[in-house]
């Protein structure tokens, strides 16, 4: 199963490091990563593979939100199907 991680917030040092460490701790493999600054906001989108994940997606999603609150960023992880469904015919 693949999921999409989005990280949006004010740019600062170490965001990618923190997020990738979080994912690695849970056995989540990063497949693709792209990052940019949009309107002064740091915006990162990652495609990740959850096959080796140590927890379920629902649990990971909750922890992602909590980590986001801790470092002052908006962090989401969502099943890739939601984007496939909404943005392709």
């Amino acid at each position: 199963m693949r999921a999409v991680v989005t990280v949006v917030g004010k740019d600062k040092t170490g965001i990618i490091a923190k997020v990738s460490a979080f994912l690695a701790e849970r056995g989540i493999n990063i497949l693709d990563i792209s990052q940019t600054i949009m309107d002064e906001y740091f915006t990162m989108i990652m495609m990740v593979d959850l096959r080796g994940a140590t927890e379920g997606l629902a649990e990971i999603a909750k922890e992602c939100r909590e980590m986001g609150e801790k470092i002052g960023m908006s962090i989401h992880i969502q099943h890739e199907d939601i984007f496939n469904a909404m943005h392709s015919v």
Binding site: V4, T6, V8, D32, S34, T36, M38, T43, I45, M47, G56, L57, A58, E59, A61, K62, S74, H76, I77, Q78, H79, D81, I82, F83, A85, M86, H87
Partner: protein
């Protein structure tokens, strides 16, 4: 890999524009629960509902987390209870209580289906059942009731319409301590649909299979935002934009519906794309209409704007889902929409204008509070008007009206939460009692004879 725009658009829709799955509703057939006595039937109804919907709250919570879309309500609809209780209609309240207990046990806020279908005729057992509605709604918390009094195929059963005027009055009086709150759980339909996931009018039709998942999607805020982005667009461009937005929203609903059905061991029923407002600002159908160019919803032009909105929403939705059903369109419940509330308070939006609006949108007069001294005949006449619009236009119409006990024009009733608050709206003082007292059946229109 997805492009930034698409991914961030979805996040924005949820975080800022109130996109949500409004309801995941499990339809459960109660026909196998019929037993020799009311007590045995009630016990079987309770066990069946609790067993089939046992995981609904847990599964929808997981889906919400995994897909990152809030699922606001989890609900259950059941076979019209009048059918289950036909052999012992005087004891239908026992089944009503069992359903209410089941809803509480499951942790869901509403359960629909304390219903009767009397659009052509009303058997004695159905009359007895309908007469039990006020008492049952007053003594239960989460049970919702609906009665279908007409259809395009059969005409309008005016005996039932007359009875429902009385039933609404009695329900208001039985729940007078809460401003007639019982009436917020009672809907009178013409052309009721069997797969509607939205409360209070949901029931599980007899043509449905055993256990079905129907999903209602909403997102007035998303549509409003999309229109805001193109302030100079003409109306064809606007309709296109609404269609595209409705498509995206419905696709999210379709995904959740399929997955929920799979995990709950039920069949996937339908997706109902309805722009269902909540009292939150930015989650309002009225504000969409105002964004189209009206100074205040309810003024001249409102019906045209709503007609376009409703049609564009349907077109986008139909393309997006393999099975569209329910009501699918725009809802205009007065107390649940901040724009409607404000317009009614200003005296711009009146019952007559709302009636015209119901001819072009997906429902009827919804969550309207009227003076407590409104006679039952007048309520029946309002129901008859709405049913006539539904019958002639081959669409569902409904009346959910609250004659708030002891309140008059200028007062307000507040039900809190998603049901919101409603200013008391004036109704015409002139009587329709002779018309209502005639009874009988308004014959089906000529264009219903298609065989």
């Amino acid at each position: 890999m997805f492009n930034y725009k698409d991914v961030l658009e979805t996040i924005d829709m949820v975080e800022r524009e109130h996109l949500d799955i409004r309801t995941v509703t499990m339809g459960i057939s109660l026909l196998p629960c019929i037993r020799a006595t009311a007590q045995e039937t009630a016990r079987c109804v309770y066990d069946t509902v609790c067993a089939k919907a046992e995981k609904i709250v847990q599964v929808t919570g997981e889906l919400s987390d995994e897909y990152g879309i809030p699922i606001v309500n989890k609900r259950v609809s059941v076979t019209p209870v009048s059918l289950i209780c036909a052999a012992f209609p005087a004891k239908a309240g026992l089944v009503g209580k069992a359903l209410d207990d089941a809803a509480r046990n499951l942790g869901i806020d509403f359960l629909g289906g304390y219903s009767a279908l009397v659009h052509k005729g009303m058997a004695d057992y159905e009359r007895t059942f309908i007469e039990s509605i006020p008492g049952v709604l007053a003594s239960t918390e989460r049970l919702c009731s609906s009665v279908n009094v007409g259809s395009s195929k059969s005409g309008i059963n005016m005996d039932a319409v007359r009875l429902m005027g009385d039933i609404i009055k009695q329900t208001a009086e039985a729940t007078a301590a809460n401003d007639g709150f019982g009436c917020a759980k009672l809907v009178v339909f013409c052309n009721a649909v069997e797969d509607n996931p939205f409360m209070a009018g949901a029931f599980h039709g007899v043509g449905e299979s055993g256990t079905v998942i129907n999903v209602g999607v909403s997102g007035p805020g998303v549509v409003q935002h999309a229109i805001e982005a193109i302030p100079e667009a003409d109306l064809s461009e606007l309709a296109e934009m609404i269609k595209r937005t409705a498509f995206k929203i419905t696709r999210a609903g379709q995904l959740i519906a399929r997955e929920a059905a799979k995990r709950l061991g039920a069949e996937f029923g339908i997706v109902d794309l309805s722009l269902a407002p909540t009292p939150a600002r930015g989650d309002s159908v009225a504000q969409i209409l105002e964004e189209m160019g009206l100074e205040c919803v309810g003024t001249h032009g409102t019906t045209a704007c709503l007609a376009m909105l409703n049609d564009a929403v349907k077109k986008g939705g139909v393309m997006a889902s393999s099975r569209v059903g329910g009501l699918s369109g725009a809802f205009i419940p007065v107390s649940e929409d901040i724009g409607m509330i404000e317009s009614a308070e200003k005296g711009v939006l009146c019952v007559d204008k709302l009636e015209a609006m119901t001819a072009v949108c997906s429902v009827g007069l919804d969550m309207i509070a009227v003076p407590g001294d409104t006679p039952a005949d007048t309520l029946s006449a309002i129901i008859a008007d709405e049913a006539a619009i539904g019958m002639i236009n081959n669409k569902t119409t409904a009346v959910r009206i609250i004659p708030a006990p002891g309140k008059g024009v200028g007062d307000c009733v507040n039900f809190g939460g998603l049901l919101g608050r409603a200013p008391i709206m004036p109704v015409h003082k002139q009587s329709a009692s002779k018309f209502v007292a005639r009874g009988g059946l308004i014959p089906a229109p000529i264009h219903s004879n298609k065989n």
